[in-house]
Symmetry: D2
């Protein structure tokens, strides 16, 4: 059975021609991701970055989205994307993600879209970890920190 959101680790990504990334998944462009200009809409790339961010924070243990006090609120403070080459209907691609900077209660993630041997888009995201009040900073869970440091080898500040 295909299961598109199975996380790919560094070895699987290297085998797929995308070395240097700790986390990714493969997918294929759908009709509803195209716009009237007949290529993948710019905002769709941001949705792909969101999709991998949401699985990443669960897989690395930053949150289980329980909505209880067991989990922080992870808030996106900023997003950016660079569009390098267009993408078209039915193209297969790999989305990759890694934390590039880790602080006590925030982090910066970097994303890339790879297809047909070329880099199509990259992006960055600033994520802040908050208490349920939506204001007070809450440190990341220690298991998640350990996993990120080991797998992603980010710059660290205050850790």
């Amino acid at each position: 059975m295909t299961d598109y959101l199975t996380a790919l680790d560094e070895d699987a990504l290297t085998a797929a021609g995308v070395p240097g990334w700790p986390y990714g998944y493969g997918d294929k462009v759908r009709f509803y991701e195209l716009d009237k200009l007949d290529h993948v809409n710019n905002v769709t790339f941001l949705k792909w970055f969101e999709t991998i961010r949401v699985t990443y924070v669960q897989d690395y243990g930053l949150t289980e989205y329980s909505g209880t006090d067991a989990d922080p609120q992870l808030v996106v403070r900023a997003l950016s994307a660079d569009f390098l080459l267009p993408m078209f209907q039915n193209e297969s691609y790999i989305v990759t993600a890694k934390t590039t900077l880790l602080k006590t209660s925030s982090l910066i993630m970097h994303y890339a879209i790879h297809a047909g041997g070329t880099l199509r888009a990259t992006g960055d995201c600033v994520v802040v970890s908050l208490e349920a009040d939506g204001k007070t900073r809450r440190p990341h869970k220690s298991e998640a920190v350990a996993r990120i440091l080991e797998r992603d080898r980010p710059e660290r500040v205050g850790l």
Copy 2:
């Protein structure tokens, strides 16, 4: 490499616990498909039906979306969906599709969403095949008709 939109045939679907369907694919609920009620939004199911319809019409040879005279315009005249059970974040599911009624220049497709051993939603769609003028009926390609008759065993009218 995962490749979510790989079409699944009748044998693969039967093996996956979904017998009686000629065509399907497996996927997983994404964050952006949930709405504020914390389950998959109703309209998302219609997007899944669209996604499988678009790959189906290509895989069965009804159109290649060339935008040239080599292909008909396939126009959706009507859509419907029944929502049987809610779906939640990260659930894996299988979408299946088949043509249930085939006419010379139109067809009716039936869809279903299967997850965790239960049927979550079903749907139907009326598709009409037109010339580039968007008005004149254009008969389906004969290879596509043969493939649909063989694989989907629909009711037939005028064929």
Copy 3:
């Protein structure tokens, strides 16, 4: 200041050339509502029906989406749409809605999209009112029932 979701009542709709409807709003096709076929995507119409349904149920008093026991859970059981004529970039349109059948704890709504003097699409939706358990039927609030009967003049069953 423009304020697109201001509900239009029967008089305002009649003045706008759409008589016979108790509730509607005016809007304009956005770029992201078009698909690669260069017209409004079919699923977009269902989103418009959802948008007016959500404001309708609040304006008529069926729910305030409080998420508390003060409000029922309104669940969509079925949706359908008929696509009559295509719509294009920048077109202005009016969405209208009315309840056509009212039962103690459910209702059927009918929708239409009007643009440039023609009817572009229609739709229907079955909505069920439930308790917080998501299973037990919960009667509509009596003020909402009174408002629907007076404004929409639906068929009634068990009321």
Copy 4:
């Protein structure tokens, strides 16, 4: 009749409490723009920036999206957004846009979302003007340049 995408000019925006912007429109949060965290999804803000960008480039005369040689291809090279405060169901807001840097065949736009007297999000976008080949730079139309210089008063490079 409400008509949400009516462009608001500097006077109308100032009257609405948003001075210092040459171009904007008013709108209201829709149900489908919320995510399971019960606020407006981050990517939705990027859709609002896209919506105003598409009307801006038409209103200022940069393109009519004719798909012919009469119009350039306007390609988004980069996008960014900062999320300052969350937004909720039914909130009314104003989106504003202006060109902050104008070059012969490219420009940078700045966006902001205003609601209830506070700034909720800002964004930036790099747009490049190309010939139909999708590669060769094509200078902006001179009427559009004149309109942008007069209304938006951007920094200019090479103009």
